[in-house]
């Protein structure tokens, strides 16, 4: 009897190979396609090769920053130090190298060193000292801007030719920054889905209490999210320094909300859990294209941030509101209270 059922079970069980597409992926891909169709109809100028070549590098930068924010959000955190991290990398890459190609490597290493330090401090404050992530990263952001002023005095400087070449040139007609973005996407996806560390990272984000009961070192992984995030912001900052001829010292400011928006649009819960790197990158393209579209149909540049804010509201609205169960909430809450009420006390 038992035997028979076991065989059945074995047969019935599909060997899923990651075929199930996440809701977030489907949503963002469909939205992106719809947006492109809209562009073709109402704003053809936003989808010409020239316009895409011009805007794709910024999509790539946003994608990289978004991946960093995603790691932090997966651990139930929030990183407000994006602007500082990106801006510091920008000014180090431009000021320290100071137009001299031979100093570029030093500048890049220095930038990564700073990012590492900032990330470790963020991680320590949040994971070990249990500081509120918002306050810790907002404080870190301020310190990073202090460093931005220390390095640059707040004035922009022209980037080195070598960096402009590496980050800004095209290979096979495609901007190099896009390759950087794709390479980082591949790396993040691989680590997250195919390595022990990545899988543990996701499991801890999905349920830290469970992770603790199986003996995982929750704090270490939580802290590492902030470190990795800073390294990604730094990469994005260096790319910006290469893409933009004369980047300002506040280049990162405009990336904070978009970084959160792409994470939300990709369907990553802002309360933590599973990450969707590919969806985040698609969302970055989507958001970037949305701006292009808005500009083409005559929405003024000043209103761009309003478009972004609406996109974020849309993103969170789609995923976090349980539309079907909206009205059953009260009941469920009471049930849970009864069954699991205060066991966590």
């Amino acid at each position: 009897m038992t035997q028979a059922r076991n065989v059945d079970t074995g047969k019935a069980m599909r060997m899923g190979g990651g075929m199930a597409l996440s809701k977030g992926f489907v949503t963002i891909v469909v939205s992106t396609i719809a947006l492109i169709v809209l562009c073709f109809i109402f704003a053809p100028s936003a989808v010409t090769a020239g316009s895409l070549m011009g805007s794709l590098p910024f999509a790539a930068v946003l994608a990289i920053v978004g991946l960093g924010q995603m790691l932090v959000v997966q651990q139930g955190g929030f990183d407000l130090s994006v602007p500082g991290g990106v801006s510091l990398a920008v000014v180090i890459a431009t000021h320290t190298a100071n137009g001299n190609d031979t100093l570029l490597l030093n500048a890049v290493l220095f930038a990564f060193g700073c990012a590492l330090l900032a990330g470790v401090l963020n991680g320590l404050m949040v994971a070990i000292f249990k500081l509120n992530a918002i306050v810790a990263t907002i404080g870190m952001n301020t310190l990073l801007f202090g460093a931005v002023f220390a390095v640059s005095g707040g004035v922009p400087r022209i980037t080195t030719d070598l960096l402009a070449e590496i980050a800004g040139a095209r290979t096979f007609g495609i901007p190099n920054s896009v390759f950087f973005g794709l390479a980082i996407l591949t790396l993040v996806s691989f680590v997250m889905k195919r390595t022990v560390a990545g899988r543990r990272f996701e499991a801890i984000g999905a349920n830290p209490q469970m992770a603790r009961t199986v003996g995982l070192r929750v704090e270490v992984y939580e802290g590492m999210a902030y470190v990795m995030a800073q390294l990604l912001y730094c990469t994005a900052g260096i790319l910006i320094a290469g893409i933009t001829r004369e980047p300002t010292a506040f280049q990162g400011n405009s990336l904070l909300l978009p970084s959160v928006a792409v994470v939300a649009l990709a369907g990553v819960s802002l309360l933590g859990g599973r990450g969707f790197p590919i969806s985040v990158v698609v969302a970055a393209f989507f958001l970037n294209q949305l701006s292009q579209f808005a500009l083409s149909i005559g929405i003024p540049y000043s209103a761009q941030t309003i478009v972004q804010a609406l996109a974020l509201v849309f993103g969170i609205g789609v995923y976090s509101i349980d539309w079907a169960g909206r009205f059953k909430n009260t009941n469920q809450r009471s049930t849970e209270e009864e069954n699991h009420g205060n066991q966590t006390a």
């Binding site: 500081l131 907002i138 301020t142 599973r274 009864e338």
Partner: protein, 843 residues
């Protein structure tokens, strides 16, 4: 189906009623309640009489809490009627229920730990309770009646568990209720407190109160109850006068069921080789625990819920600290090894057992990932094979290994948790309530698996509140009461009555009274008490601010000039008002990032109306529009958070960016000079002190008064302190939160008026920095980042100190680097110091 159930119930029910009872207060007729398909209560009919103590008995999950929650209006029954004094009172809600005179003392007290004893009474009880005799005297009397002798201004987080229960009782008794529900009230009380409680209950009974007493302990029932109703599996098993039923009959009714299905064969070896041994194990809530497991034996831990079993299990799993020795195969294990060797199956599957975002496969392999990897890279094939293998042997039924874990039935989810344990190849297995929420069929498979594991030589320790399960499954059962082993049953001794009997009849003399924490007096005591208050940060902040001022004065004597002082105060005023708003957001356990751009946006609005040459009415219109915009922003923030499932940070960050865009839409650069007359009025000063600053201080003082002396203030702190408890004591959660976010925006509006005077022009780029500034000021001021406690006075001082520091940077001729550096440093150091100083004792 229903018909049959009905029949069965009535045949099983023992209904003895001979004495004509007193007046009926509550009559429940045919009440049923189901949760997602599981019948929690089925056709319950029961009457509660005035002047009687009516005990409700039953095992965990028998439906006692559901019954109670229906009476208090927390839950609505699916079918059936509820009458109160002969009137149909359905539908009932918590507010209506307490208006009828029904009060309840919860098993897990609804106490707000960030608030004082007195404030807990005030927020939970209607104001008229305190009217006749005055606040302190009434509060004192309420506490004296339950024998709780603690200072009224003591923060409740410092109370012991027993003291919290007494406070909960005091709240329930304060209203002279018609119906008093006591849910396991003595679980953590010592003998004296229990006697006091019984005296109070008898007293109330004599005055005609109907007391509903939920308990596990037969001994208590004998002392206090007139009538008893037994519930089992959501059904009434009987209702009778307490004097006419023997303990044995009651036990039979509680346990009842005969399990027809076969449990797996027990261990046959009478004295097997011991492979797991625990000696003198002591930890949180348990002491001197000692037992040993032989190869092929399963050890059961029994006892009434909350007697240390859960903590013992967690300690054995390496999740809590312990003292004593734990030996596996004769070798003593260190705490670190325990963590590695133990496989723990938690009882609370949803919070600790499974990660709902992950698939079945991912849930199963999370503890053993390193076994499928080479060099840290996983072999998916290897992982799949292992999962298939273990799922086959445990007969896990899932549509796919890639299905969401929650799509499985409870039993199969539990088997996935077992798969995880087995895949990690553990040294021993700790299973806490392994069959909770598992259907009958799967239960026996779980028993079979546990038995197989045990036979294979892996020690298995099971905690269960189901005596029948322990009887069928275990070779040795250890019964715990109040953290100690009261009985060890072996072989034929393991019967349900023996298990239940040992647990519930455990003599109350084993009570260990919890020591009250230090209640000394004198200067040291007063000092400690002051340090605990929300406003304690005022002292260090003032000292730092004064010392800093003196240092800069020493460097540059113009610093304390009348001009500069009033300049600092003006600057601090705008920041101060915005920070007062931010304080409210943090008090609610949230945050408002949108305050900075909102202030800037409001100034931009104002810059279209409040100009030289405009009529007074136009200017007034400008202020009205600013006010309305602020109101709207607060409302949207609040609604997004409460009704849109946005986290506070997501909602207000969106608002942040949106408002910034709006400012730029209205003006693409600075423009619209603010009328000089308005600026002069706003910055009018007496000596070197601006009127506006005095106003700020006044607002902060009023804010303090509202926060500590009025109901809206307590409610605000209550929702920030513990939303769930606040809901249970009847605070309207959504309304409080939304009103709170509106208040944040309105204070920002006042700050924006000051900002308008400060920058004098409508500049869309201004204001944004006030988000950071306000958070820094609030954190410096000492408001807790977790909500529930904070100080407006501290916030004002924080704003002052921050302004002073930023001003000093220019006075000392330092660069902008220092301006940012100091601010970042201040916020982080303050946050670190305060959060370390305030870490709660349990953590």
């Amino acid at each position: 189906m229903m018909q049959m159930a009905e029949l069965k119930t009535s045949t099983d029910t023992v209904d003895i009623r001979n004495e004509a009872p007193a007046r009926t207060v509550i009559r429940m007729t045919d009440v049923s309640k189901a949760f997602s398909g599981v019948q929690a209560l089925a056709n319950i009919s029961v009457e509660f009489f005035a002047g009687e103590v009516h005990a409700i008995l039953g095992e965990n999950g028998a439906g006692k809490s559901t019954l109670m929650n229906i009476i208090t209006g927390v839950l609505q029954p699916d079918t059936g009627r509820l009458e109160f004094e002969g009137r149909d009172v359905m539908p009932l809600d918590p507010e209506k229920s307490s208006a009828l005179g029904i009060s309840i003392s919860y098993q897990h007290p609804a106490i707000l730990e960030d608030m004082s004893v007195q404030e807990n009474l005030q927020v939970a009880l209607p104001a008229d309770v305190f009217e006749t005799r005055g606040l302190r005297e009434t509060a004192r009397r309420l506490l004296d009646e339950v024998g709780l002798h603690v200072p009224l201004n003591m923060r409740t987080e410092e109370l012991t568990v027993a003291q919290k229960h007494l406070l909960e009782l005091a709240k329930a008794l304060a209203l002279n209720p018609k119906v008093l529900i006591l849910d396991e009230p003595t679980a953590s009380l010592d003998q004296d407190a229990t006697d006091m409680l019984f005296a109070r209950v008898r007293d109330l009974k004599a005055r005609g109160t109907s007391v509903i007493y939920i308990t596990h302990r037969l001994a208590e029932l004998r002392k206090i109850a007139d009538r008893v109703t037994v519930l089992r599996d959501g059904r009434k098993r009987g209702s009778t006068l307490a004097s006419e039923v023997s303990n044995q009959d009651l036990l039979d009714m509680i346990v009842g069921r005969k399990l027809e299905s076969a449990f797996p064969q027990k261990c046959e070896d009478p004295s097997p080789l011991v492979n797991f041994e625990v000696n003198g194990l002591t930890g949180r809530k348990f002491a001197d625990v000692e037992f040993e497991v032989g190869r092929g034996q399963i050890i059961g831990i029994a006892g009434v819920e909350g007697n240390g079993q859960v903590d013992l299990m967690r300690a054995l799993a390496g999740l809590q600290s312990w003292k004593g020795t734990i030996k596996l195969d004769g070798k003593a294990l260190s705490a670190r090894q325990i963590k590695h060797k133990a496989a723990y199956m938690p009882s609370d599957r949803h919070s600790e057992g499974v990660a709902k975002d992950l698939t079945v496969r991912e849930n199963a392999t999370v503890a053993s990932l390193e076994k499928y990897a080479t060099g840290g890279v996983l072999s998916r094939r290897h992982e799949d094979e292992k999962v298939q293998e273990v799922f086959r042997s445990l007969a896990v039924k899932a549509s796919s290994t890639e299905a969401k874990i929650l799509s499985l039935s409870g039993g199969n989810q539990q088997k996935v948790v077992m798969s995880r344990a087995l895949l990690s190849e553990p040294g021993f297995i700790i299973a806490d309530e392994p069959t909770q929420g598992v259907d009958v069929g799967a239960r026996f498979e779980i028993y079979r698996i546990l038995r197989e594991v045990s036979n294979a030589g892996t020690p298995v320790i099971v905690n269960s509140s189901d005596a029948a399960e322990l009887k069928g499954l275990c070779d040795v059962v250890v019964v715990m009461s109040r953290g100690r082993i009261v009985k060890t049953l072996r072989g034929d001794e393991i019967t349900e009555p023996n298990i239940v009997g040992a647990a519930v009849a455990a003599d109350t003399e084993t009570h260990h009274s919890e020591e009250a924490r230090s209640s000394a007096s004198g200067i040291g005591f007063k000092f400690r008490r002051f340090v605990q208050t929300d406003n304690a940060t005022v002292v260090p902040l003032t000292i730092v601010a004064v010392l800093l001022a003196l240092y800069i004065f020493w460097q540059n004597e113009n610093y304390l000039s009348s001009f500069n002082v009033s300049n600092i105060l003006i600057l601090a005023t705008a920041l101060g008002f915005i920070a007062l708003g931010q304080t409210i957001a943090l008090l609610m356990g949230g945050i408002d990032l949108s305050v900075g751009p909102l202030a800037g946006f409001l100034v931009v609005i104002g810059s279209f109306f409040v100009n030289d040459g405009q009529a007074a009415t136009t200017m007034a219109l400008g202020f009205v529009l600013m006010f309305c915009a602020a109101l709207l922003v607060g409302l949207i923030n609040g609604c997004l958070i409460r009704f849109g499932n946005f986290t506070p940070i997501a909602a207000t960050l969106t608002m942040f960016i949106g408002l910034q865009g709006m400012s730029f839409v209205l003006r693409d650069g600075p423009g619209g000079y603010i009328a000089f007359s308005v600026i002069d009025t706003l910055t009018y000063r007496i000596g070197s002190v601006p009127i506006a600053f005095i106003l700020l201080v006044f607002f902060a003082l009023v804010g303090e008064w509202v926060l500590r002396r009025t109901r809206p203030g307590w409610q605000l702190r209550a929702v920030g302190s513990n939303e769930e408890s606040a809901r249970r004591i009847g605070v309207r959660i959504d309304r409080t939160f939304i009103a709170g976010y509106i208040a944040v925006s309105l204070l920002t509006f006042i700050g924006a008026i000051m900002l308008m005077a400060q920058i004098g022009v409508g500049d869309p780029a201004q204001g944004v920095n006030y988000t950071l500034g306000s958070i820094t000021a609030v954190v410096l001021g000492g408001t807790s980042l977790r909500g529930g406690r904070g100080t407006f006075i501290g916030t004002v001082l924080g704003a002052l100190l921050l302004t002073e520091v930023l001003n000093a940077v220019s006075f000392l001729g330092l660069s902008q680097t220092f301006q940012y550096g100091f601010q970042g440093f201040l916020i982080l150091v303050a946050a670190l110091i305060y959060s370390t100083a305030r870490r709660r004792p349990e953590e």
